[in-house]
């Protein structure tokens, strides 16, 4: 392998270029969010606030109800995460380790359903939730994320590597299946639970189309829905909108940075081995 300085510079130069393209829009967003109103609308575009200010954030939280949207997003994403992790883990573990009649057929049917895009279900789902009085409620926004075929699949893949002797030993000791699940299986599945939780939280937080449909009431809206509405009303308020984007993106970006090992691992289990 020849390691010429030229090749070294080319490879790393290209990587620096790609990293700049990836991060520059996010950096620009952060810088503009601290600018005075109107400051970003200059040519050439400024990359640093001349007099940094929190004015835009104050405006968002005091005048535009940003705290409500932040709360709604956090509540819905947390609810989806807690419920879906529990339901998917129960099902994924059962598909991997418990014998029951029709197990393989049920699992194959689930996998086949993966090809159906979620949007097909949205019109009847809306009517169903309307009947149930769940339109414009937090639970209504959580519904599509409460259990997921992909999540069940992820847990099943991981749970298959649990040693059967471990479960048998607990059974011989007279432990109930529920007790085995909570005291033996859950601790052993911890890494995949974190993965599942990160996926669920990011998915719910970033989701747009369903919350847009089901949360018509402004007080109930999540950050992405509110941001889309605000950006239509405040087309000229560059700096304000960038502050809104910061509030929306930073929580998930921080979460990802803290747990990226789990996230990337899940991504690979879910796709390459699938």
């Amino acid at each position: 392998m020849k390691r010429s300085p030229l090749a070294l510079a080319l490879v790393n130069g290209a990587l620096i270029g790609l990293a700049a393209i990836s991060l520059a829009p996010l950096f620009w967003m952060l810088a503009v969010s601290f600018m005075q109103p109107g400051e970003a609308s200059h040519f050439p575009p400024p990359w640093w606030p001349s007099h940094p200010t929190l004015h835009n954030y104050r405006e968002l939280f005091l005048r535009n109800g940003m705290a409500t949207y932040l709360f709604n997003s956090a509540l819905i994403a947390t609810g989806v995460t807690l419920i879906s992790v529990l339901l998917n883990t129960l099902a994924g573990y059962a598909f991997a380790k418990l014998r029951f009649r029709g197990r393989e057929r049920t699992f194959r049917a689930l996998l086949a359903a993966l090809v159906i895009p979620a949007q097909v279900a949205m019109m009847p789902l809306f009517l169903l939730l309307k009947q149930m009085g769940l339109v414009n409620t937090y639970f209504g926004a959580m519904v599509p994320g409460l259990a997921g075929i992909f999540g069940i699949f992820l847990v099943r893949q991981y749970a298959r590597s649990l040693p059967d002797e471990l479960l048998e030993a607990a059974r011989i000791d007279g432990a109930s299946e529920a007790r085995i699940f909570f005291q033996v299986v859950l601790p052993a599945l911890r890494p995949i639970l974190v993965t599942l939780a990160v996926f669920a939280f990011l998915g719910a937080w970033n989701d747009f189309m369903w919350p847009l449909i089901v949360l018509g009431d402004q007080d109930m809206q999540t950050l992405p829905v509110a941001l889309a509405t605000l950006s239509r009303e405040h087309v000229q308020d560059n700096e304000l909108m960038m502050a809104g984007a910061v509030v929306t993106i930073v929580p998930v970006l921080v979460l990802f940075l803290m747990l990226q090992r789990y996230y990337l691992q899940g991504l690979l289990v879910g796709s390459v081995k699938g």
């Binding site: 059962a94 418990l98 789902l125 984007a245």
Partner: protein, 292 residues
């Protein structure tokens, strides 16, 4: 026997959620698509009528549907190969033995994937502003006249494609990286002994070995790109001149702006049909080329 009962008890909660909130609505969507469900039926179900395939026929004779279909196909046909090329390039660079600070670069290139589509789409609107946008400033440095990215119907879809590539390439990059790491080193060893150049190694060892991964990534990316919605909703609102109305955008407008839920369901089913056909086509092509 105990295990059998326990098994069903464990899968029951998740299965009921999926049945009630997904499987049932999918079936109901088909039923809905052969009715004229509209805002009057929403108020009183007695206004509902069976119309057979009228919604489908209506769509196939509706110029806006064909426009939306054309725009979506444009986005898929140009966007998917571009995204995959970007992902593969990034993965090859990251996989190179010459690359430094790999964990940092991997995280940096992946960061756009976890961001919220709506929020970064809002950023994009300002980056591609005709007068004050960073993009036109960069072009001006190269001596190129400003482009009306979001106002010119010829440039609106390319802008959205650039956005999608930027936002998504990190995802497939991670999958490609894993694929590259799984290629046995002796294959390259043998190629080098035969005097194969860097390019020869790429086309004769790396790409053939990546075949199955490439197929998987193409299918997943295509399925995702057919579902284009939030990007045009935020960046261009479907305009200018409906140049960025996608099939799902049309479904949303039909269903939840005009409350023609029957018609919207028909749009959704046509999209599903199209996605199935495209995926089957890709699999057929891959099988013919001997990738499995």
């Amino acid at each position: 026997m105990r295990a059998s009962l326990a098994g069903w008890a464990f899968v029951a909660p998740a299965l009921s959620v999926i049945l009630l909130f997904f499987a049932l609505p999918v079936l109901a969507a088909f039923a809905l698509s052969v009715t004229d469900f509209d805002i009057y039926a929403l108020a009183d179900p007695r206004n509902l009528r069976f119309v057979g395939l009228d919604n489908y026929i209506g769509l196939l004779t509706n110029p806006l549907f064909w426009k939306a279909l054309g725009n979506t196909l444009y986005f898929v046909v140009v966007g998917v190969p571009l995204s995959i090329a970007a992902s593969l390039t990034a993965a090859l660079l990251l996989h190179s033995k010459l690359a430094r600070f790999k964990p940092f670069f991997r995280t940096a290139l992946f960061a756009p994937v976890v961001t919220t589509v709506v929020a970064v789409a809002v950023i994009w609107r300002y980056l591609f502003h005709t007068r004050y946008g960073v993009m036109n400033w960069l072009l001006s440095l190269a001596g190129i006249a400003p482009i009306d990215w979001l106002g010119d119907p010829h440039w609106s879809m390319p802008t959205i494609i650039l956005f999608a590539v930027w936002k998504n390439f990190g995802y497939n990059m991670i999958i490609f990286l894993a694929g590259l790491q799984a290629i046995p080193e002796d294959l390259y060893e043998a190629a080098r002994i035969d005097g194969a150049s860097w390019w020869k190694q790429l086309t004769h060892v790396t790409l053939p070995m990546l075949g199955p991964v490439l197929l998987l990534v193409s299918i997943l990316t295509m399925a995702g790109y057919f579902q284009l919605f939030a990007e045009p909703y935020v960046i261009t609102q479907g305009g200018p001149l409906q140049s960025t109305v996608s099939v799902l955008y049309m479904m949303y407008d039909e269903g939840f702006k005009w409350w023609n839920l029957g018609n919207a369901s028909a749009v959704a089913f046509l999209l599903f049909l199209l996605m199935t056909a495209a995926t089957s086509g890709l699999l057929w092509f891959a099988r013919k080329r001997g990738v499995e």
